[in-house]
Amino acid sequence: MKYLAEFRDPELARALLDEIARTVTRPWTIMEICGGQTHAIMRHGLDQLLPDAITLVHGPGCPVCVTPLETIDRALVIAAQPGVIFTSFGDMLRVPGSRDDLFRIKSRGGDVRMVYSPLEALKLARENPDREVVFLAVGFETTAPGNAMAVRQAAAEGLTNFSEITSHVLVPPAMEAILSAPNNRVQGFLAAGHVCAVMGTTEYEPLAARHRVPIVPTGFEPVDILRGILQTVRMLESGEHGVVNAYGRAVRTEGNPAARAVVDEVYTVCDRKWRGIGTIPRSGLRLRDEFAAFDAERKFAVGGINPEEPAVCIAGEILQGLKKPPECPAFGTECTPLHPLGATMVSSEGACAAYHKYARKGLL
């Protein structure tokens, strides 16, 4: 298929691996932000093909993994209420809350439905005027435009039985938090290609300048990822910092201005807690006050639920690139994709699940 086969070409991948090996003279630690890239790296075995000098650490770019526990618990309380149709992306259904998950609510008779687009939730609201339709709006800058459009459209149509639990997160503040941590070991970033497709690349410039790191927007196919790594390594080796786009077919400097405008119209930046990591200033999006009528947490008055995370899981350190999944004592024993203890074991974008699936058990 066009744009796919070409960027999976083993010959091009081999040439890139050779060039990376020729370029690298010292050890470097590079973080891929996006969980989709973590998954692709494991799936194609790129971590094992790269020179030993290059360590890839896996970033927090998995929406399922970082959605805070209280959001999940609040979602569970709402989903269990009679008269509610609770809608969510499929990945969120198995995320463990304090005691439950959405699947179990469903098996006990809750009307929990998986949707592929927030517009499906909107359609359910139109078709079921006597029911409350609630959508769990999570994700990064990639899902925010769609979720914002659903709210805007609900407002335009005067739908009063549609609401969202909004728990969006933003990538650049998380990168700032990682780079500012005293124990940070990340020296360069593969920026999340599709986040950049929406937001553009300009917000990374000050970050790259302040911390003197290369930030390279990168795609998702093996050739894309290796190209991103080569670009990052070239910059690291020559002591350069800055933003260089390695995903030109999808990422424009200005991103998608139409999408950004609607996100800005519906949402506003707020401090946000990241599961396992803690609160990062100005790292989330919430509904603007003008759209408060669509805020499910207000509508169902669940704002007071504030649970604590169980202590066994080291997902927080994994999401910050400080540890890798096999360093967790529960990895593959107590904690498996079928019985996840932490959110990083749930979604295929989570580092623990990716390591488990592709059997990176012994590799530390």
Partner: protein
């Protein structure tokens, strides 16, 4: 929710509240909203997340990066050959 593969637009519908398209992802079909990519045409490849097309892939850029990578690959081969022969 972050499906990273591009899809090809097969059909565009403008009769609903928002412009929609039928998208083919290497065989699997689904709908996506074109509100953010109004310039998209049938046959274009788009990046879709959570049911919204977020960007039309730029064919020229794709060709340019492939050409650059093919040059790199040819260079690597040219480098490797004398070694193999010696």
């Amino acid at each position: 929710m972050c499906l990273a593969i591009p899809g090809k637009i097969l059909e565009i519908r403008t009769d609903g509240p928002l412009p929609m398209a039928v998208i083919d992802y290497a065989g699997a079909r689904n709908e996506a909203c074109l509100a953010y990519t109004p310039e998209a045409q049938i046959g274009d490849y788009v990046i879709v997340h959570a049911g919204f097309a977020l960007q039309v892939l730029n064919e020229q850029e794709a060709q340019a990066s492939l050409a650059e990578l093919t040059r790199l690959s040819a260079l690597m081969e040219a480098d490797a050959e004398p070694e193999a022969g010696s």
